[in-house]
Symmetry: C2
Subunit: 142 residues, 2 copies
DNA sequence: TACTTTTGCTATTATTTTAATAGTAAAAAT
DNA sequence: ATTTTTACTATTAAAATAATAGCAAAAGTA
């Protein structure tokens, strides 16, 4: 499990946590697709291996970007949720999405994302609002 | 050299180009510290190995994020410059910097960055303006 | 109640990527 | 003419990731 930082640079330090090949895709699945369980993360197009998924979830948990809990009516499934700190990464994920959509079509076939043509700040606030309201629903079940 | 994309997701595709351990730090050095040469990139705090630096510069060049050229009065040094496409990543780098500055102080000693307390959009436009004006100066020498 | 399936992992080995370091050729400086 | 600098490449070691199998507990089904 990674734990050391390369330098005191805030950019380098952030990348030491979420700058690997998978972390931001897990956060994408949580924030944009409202995925919550190990199985759901495993089912993404990019095919993350279970051992890597497991170690990444642990790392993100250790930096308080996600929480792990069970619901009262289900002792099997673990529910992973984003903390406020991670929800604040929304703008970065949205900007990455906009940039890729705009610049990578000549190198790869890029999926069209609904609503990505709207204004940036509106996209971000909508994403956050939806995620937070989803969390509320979850907590009611609990 | 990496060349395949994991999926059609614009986020995953962007990360397939700049989502490794080093690319964004090279872009940081170029955009924020106005570094231009192999030697300057090698001298950063994070100590990138020359073989990795070399392969990353090639990859970024292949996706037209940077250009490589020599100046008329110096046949030895290669000058690497960001393209407009890469300059558009400024907002992402600034957001990463703001996020790290705000959230990682409890895990690592984070350097204070001058001006990071200013308004986000102002920081971004200033960063871009400074880089573009630096490029102008370079071209005059050429 | 017994059997099957699902979920959330861990373990293992292979493959790929990264790290560390030495070395080299051409240009520039002395 | 010799030394130093720059921009790398080459090599080997170490670490991370990929691929796959397997397993225990919970849940669903007969």
């Amino acid at each position: 499990m990674k734990s050391n930082f390369r330098s005191g640079c805030p950019i380098a330090s952030t990348l030491d946590i979420i700058g690997d090949k998978w972390s931001l895709l897990i956060l994408r699945d949580m924030l944009l697709h409202h995925k919550m369980t190990f199985k759901e993360f495993s089912s993404s197009d990019e095919q993350i291996a279970p051992s890597i998924l497991s170690s990444r979830l642990k790392l993100l948990t250790s930096y308080n970007l996600i929480t792990k809990q069970k619901q009262a009516n289900n002792k099997k499934e673990n529910i992973y949720l984003l903390t406020e700190k991670a929800i604040e990464l929304s703008s970065i994920l949205v900007d990455i999405s906009i940039w890729g959509d705009k610049h990578l079509r000549k190198f790869n076939q890029i999926n069209d994302i609904e609503g990505l043509d709207l204004e940036r700040s509106l996209i971000i606030s909508t994403v956050k609002k939806r995620y937070n309201s989803m969390i509320q629903d979850i907590k009611i079940i609990k």
